[in-house]
């Protein structure tokens, strides 16, 4: 395996473990030695991949954003109705949340709760630009096609992302009676009804 690919693969492993530990123990209670220990690698070696805990924290966010962004991009490029796109978006989000619960946990428990860590170069749009861009493209197209009601971007944006984050949060709290995917249709219908034109 070429070295660069090997390095990327290792980085991914580190992301998964770090993500889990950050989300379970909190950002400040987790040290680089904790992460190295969990991975069975030396602290020195871990520093070969990430220069600091902060850099690792930001990288996790960028990684999650591009993972989800790529999925939404695929949906955006499909030739289907806006309503069907919402339904697919909800299902893909849930799938990612089920396959990588640590990423969503990380977003809710670390990224949203420790803003000071992300202030230098990861604030605002910077570490989540893929997701935000794709959601914006989706919303813009919906209005252009006459399917969605024209409104301020941010009210529309939180109407899409808020319910998704909320549902996954409840899942993390073990509050839900059913599996995530069983809520997909109803949630998609809610988002569609909230945003649709007329």
């Amino acid at each position: 395996m070429p070295k660069a690919i090997q390095k990327e693969k290792k980085k991914l492993e580190i992301v998964k473990v770090a993500c889990k530990l950050f989300a379970q123990q909190g950002y400040y209670n987790t040290t680089i030695p904790d992460i190295a220990k969990e991975l069975g690698m030396s602290v020195g070696n871990l520093y070969n991949y990430f220069k600091s805990k902060e850099e690792l924290a930001k990288y996790i966010m960028q990684y999650s954003s591009s993972l989800l962004g790529e999925e939404i991009k695929k949906i955006n490029e499909m030739n289907i109705s806006t309503k069907e796109k919402i339904s697919l978006l909800v299902r893909r989000f849930i799938k990612i949340a089920e396959e990588n619960p640590e990423l969503i946990d990380y977003f809710l428990r670390v990224f949203l709760s420790n803003r000071e860590v992300f202030s230098g170069g990861c604030e605002g749009f910077l570490c989540v630009q893929e997701v935000v861009t794709e959601i914006m493209l989706f919303l813009e197209e919906g209005v252009r096609k006459g399917d969605l009601r024209n409104q301020d971007l941010f009210t529309a944006f939180v109407t899409v992302m808020g319910p998704l984050g909320g549902l996954v949060f409840l899942k993390g709290e073990n509050m839900l009676m059913k599996t995530l995917i069983e809520y997909a249709d109803e949630l998609a219908e809610n988002i569609w009804r909230a945003l649709k034109a007329g």
Binding site: E123, G124, F125, L126, Q129, V132, T133, E134, M136, L137, L139, E140, E141, G142, V143, R144, L148, N150, Q151, D152, L153, F154, A156
Partner: protein, 307 residues
């Protein structure tokens, strides 16, 4: 001496007004090199009928036929002597070395072509975007060029005089898809706009006439998607719309008279429906988001308050 004949169809005379403001070369410099056979606003003694007869009889060689204003066959709307403007163009089209359409009306039909009571109004070779003008789409003059189009409402005099002089000296000119000289119309008003720093950092103007702020996001500026060198060849040598705090209204494009809300940027969920030329919407959103997040202190202040 080369000759020039200027005809007018349905026109407000704006391009003639522009011509009078030509500098470098001035109008009298141009017509000391070129014999002005006739211009409806400038010629007093010359008789257009006689000139046309002499051109048809090959007593006069016609080098440049300039047409200002939209074309109609209907003499109730435009009559020159006993002719309609389309009669005159048809008579002379195969005699002229070059035909130059000056202004959006002669090129695309423009505002007159929006008039519903007379549907035959068009430009010389185009009607708005389509090649459905008076002359066939494959029409070429003796020189081998199609009608050379100089768009604008009105044109800048230098756009016309530069093209005229290039042809006068037998220079080759290349044309874009609307047969406009590329040397003039490959630029956008965005190129050279003094507000580019505000565009880069997405600092938007909320009102007209201020020195600060980009006019694109809120005020309908078409500078990034219009072909015209308004910030390269300045108006009256000193300024342009955007420099003065007035948005570009896209007056060199075929759709100029059919667009609505000139001073409002059409947005869907806060995202401009039309975005700068050459950029994908995805790229525009990304770069705008990053620029807005990173902020530039300088562009957030009044210019007088900057260091």
């Amino acid at each position: 001496m080369k000759t020039l004949l200027w005809l007018q169809g349905l026109t407000c005379n704006g391009n003639t007004q522009s011509l009078l403001n030509a500098e470098n070369p001035y109008i009298y410099e141009i017509f000391s090199k070129i014999n002005l056979l006739y211009h409806p606003s400038l010629s007093i003694e010359n008789n257009l009928n006689e000139i046309i007869d002499k051109i048809l009889d090959k007593e006069i060689k016609l080098d440049f036929l300039i047409v200002e204003g939209a074309i109609t066959k209907n003499k109730n709307f435009c009559k020159i002597g006993n002719y309609s403007i389309s009669d005159l163009v048809n008579k002379l089209k195969d005699k002229a070395e070059y035909i130059i359409a000056v202004g959006n009306c002669a090129v695309h039909g423009n505002l007159p072509a929006v008039y519903r009571e007379n549907k035959d109004i068009c430009g010389l070779q185009f009607k708005f975007e389509e090649k459905k003008g008076l002359l066939p789409s494959d029409f070429k003059t003796k020189s081998g060029y199609p009608v050379i189009n100089i768009t604008g409402c009105p044109i800048h005099p230098a756009w016309f005089t530069q093209v005229l002089m290039a042809l006068y000296y037998d220079r080759k000119i290349s044309l874009d898809k609307f047969n406009r000289p590329k040397e003039i119309f490959m630029y956008l008003p965005h190129d050279g706009c003094t507000r580019n720093e505000y565009f880069e950092w997405k600092t938007e103007a909320e009102e007209f006439g201020h020195k600060e702020g980009c006019l694109f996001y809120n005020l309908g500026c078409r500078g990034p998607m219009t072909h015209a060198p308004c910030n390269k060849i300045l108006w009256n040598r000193i300024s342009s719309k955007t420099r003065a705090g007035m948005p570009c209204i896209g007056c060199t494009e075929f759709n100029f008279p059919v667009r609505e809300n000139f001073f409002d940027t059409k947005k869907n969920m806060g995202i401009p429906e039309d975005i700068p030329l050459g950029v994908s919407k995805r790229a525009y959103i990304m770069i705008s988001g990053v620029a807005k997040t990173l902020k530039n202190e300088r562009v957030s202040k009044k210019l007088e308050d900057t260091e």
